[in-house]
């Protein structure tokens, strides 16, 4: 069960690859699909490893991705770490 996930706004992405490179658990990969501007936005390849740490969101220069934690039964909250 993953601890979190990412939300991606593909149309904002410019394909710089920062999120793919700096994700500590290597959850992301640039997809082969294009967005309207012709860039390759990222997608999750190993979603179960995502901890929702939001480091991808900290690195994204175009505000196109962010991570969030799933609420857990011990009273955690939704939102970036």
């Amino acid at each position: 069960m993953p601890k979190g996930s990412v939300a991606i706004t593909a149309e904002r992405c410019k394909g710089c690859g920062f999120c793919v490179e700096f994700c500590p658990t290597h959850v992301l990969e640039l997809s082969s699909a294009f967005n309207a501007k012709g860039y390759h936005p990222p997608h999750m390849i190993t979603a179960e490893k995502c901890s929702g740490c939001n480091l991808c969101g900290m690195y994204c220069p175009d505000f196109a991705i962010f991570g969030y934690k799933f609420p857990d039964l011990k009273g955690g909250k939704v939102g970036p770490a």
Binding site: A7, T9, A10, E11, R12, K14, G15, C16, G17, F18, E21, F22, A36, Y39, L55, G57, M58, Y59, C60, P61, D62, F63, F66, Y68, V78, G79, P80
Partner: protein, 256 residues
Amino acid sequence: MSTTPELAILNPVEEVLRKDRIPTIWCPGCGIGTTVNSFAYALMGTGIDLKKTAIVSGIGCSGRVSGYMALDSFHTTHGRAIPFATGLKLANPELNVIVYSGDGDLTSIGGNHLVHAARRNMDLLVVCVNNMIYAMTGGQAAATTPGNSMSTTTPYGSFEPEICLPQLVDACGAVFVARWTAFHVKQLERTMAKALKKKGFRFIEVVTPCPTLYQRRNNMGDGLAAMMDYKNSQQDQERRPHLRSGHGARRRYHRR
């Protein structure tokens, strides 16, 4: 402007951004947007009154930051962000005034203002995005362009060494001086939060990639290559602390 379908939850930084102005003008791999994330989290984390916070920029790619922040913002003439901010602060002493601009703007054309604002200890937070070039106008050499590097105005390589901003501002008497790179997002956030809570002249330099106008002419790859270099040169410095002083790490990389 964006035709993006709405997500169920919003990116937390959008709280302090003007969403209607996204996408930004910045190139793919440009590091300015990354520094904005750290700044946004620092602003939200410190809980300062955003209604009493103003951001002032000069002209340049970095100068566009003020236009993307949902704060009172001021896009001033080239090089004169600090004089505008000084006036703003003197007339409205209750405001938190932040200057967010480029290296060419703050330290080359506006270098004198930086020196004297630091000397007077004006109550401003200055964030200097150092991409080592006058980027927006096509890549002319600035005072921060490292020696030997190519630019449109130095086709045989720059003959002059660059200035070291933290040392300069420190010598002028600033109360808080820091330097990070766009790779150090968490450290930068913490430093910005700390600086936001302080009084007096505070200066933060952020070294960022400019793949389009600096790196391309110097065979330095794309934005990601620069970020990897920041990461690796930090690890180098941790292993070999004698390289830590001044611009050691940066010089080594740029010398061809």
